[in-house]
Amino acid sequence: MKGMTLIVKKITQIICPIIFVFGIYIIIHGHLTPGGGFAGGVIMAGAFILQILANGNILPALRKEEEGLEFLESSAILGFLIIAGLGLLFSGSVVFFANFLNKGQLGKLISAGFIPIENIVIGAEVCAAIAAIFIALVVYKDEESK
């Protein structure tokens, strides 16, 4: 896949980390402000997509990256299940997805039990999934149809 011009590349180098950290902000503050795992994950995937579109990567590097994304996605789902299972062990009653951590005060950053942790896991999962879909649809189609 061919890249874009110099101007787009340079601006992308500056903008991409900022988009990425904005996605992290949306995820971390998911239980306080609008947003959450889904929105933040999609924004983070957007940063990756912008970088790939602007720089025009080569296929072998992307294939390695895509394998890493698959690993991230699988481990994120596993982490989600583990958190759910921990509720089974540590809460007093036997409930899957029991919110067993200390709840804290409403409106603080560290509050709401394990909801922020679940948000992070879901965000990683969505980000990896959408970036992998994009790489498969856009780049593989381009390179392998030749």
Partner: protein, 197 residues
């Protein structure tokens, strides 16, 4: 900080609430026109781009209907969908074969219009059972809103999807995972074979 400011702006605006239904009707008419054009366009690129009208109209509708979470997700998802769709139709010279006007096709269109009219009449009867738009139907919602004491999550939507209905989220994650596996298996066959040789 930005979102808190935005929430205050939406909450303090009395102007929006009075004309809410009118604005929504305007946006919906725009979405219907965009979708009709998108389905009838003779060029695939313009079809995909005017499909964007529907998605971004939906974003504005979500903002008006007090669902900022959904608006954030929808705006990014819409952009990614458009990029992926344009990538799909790029480098394809498929011309859409225009249907020539035959009497048979006129009958089809007439049937479509009649069927749509029947559906609309049935639905008009069916909506009579529903509460009118904007009515207070807080039977289940009361439970979830008072549940904030239980979850301590200031964003009620996050509290619902990750505490009360976490099984839904687990199912969603599984569906997403399966879709990614499906896309990769469909698109990577050729690459795998070449590596083996």
């Amino acid at each position: 900080m930005v979102f808190k400011w935005y929430a205050h702006l939406i909450d303090n605006s009395d102007i929006l609430e009075d004309k809410m239904e009118l604005y929504l009707i305007l946006i919906l008419v725009l979405m219907i026109l965009g979708s009709i054009y998108s389905l009838n366009a003779s060029d695939l690129l313009s079809a995909v781009i005017s499909y964007g009208i529907v998605g971004f109209g939906l974003v504005i509708a979500f903002l008006l209907l007090q669902a900022p979470d959904l608006a954030i997700v929808q705006v990014v998802v819409e952009v990614i969908t458009l990029v992926v769709m344009i990538a799909t139709i790029k480098n394809t010279q498929a011309k859409i074969s225009q249907m020539k006007f035959k009497p048979k096709i006129a009958i089809y269109y007439a049937l479509i219009v009649i069927a749509a009219l029947i559906f609309v009449i049935i639905f008009e009867k069916a909506t009579g059972c529903l509460n009118s738009f904007g009515a207070d139907t807080m039977r289940m919602a009361e439970h979830y809103i008072s549940g904030v004491e239980h979850t301590k999550s200031a964003n009620l939507v996050t509290g619902v999807i990750l505490d009360f209905r976490a099984y839904d989220t687990l199912g969603e994650a599984t569906v997403l995972f399966t879709a990614v596996i499906g896309v990769l298996t469909i698109l990577r066959i050729k690459g795998k074979k070449e590596e083996d040789k």
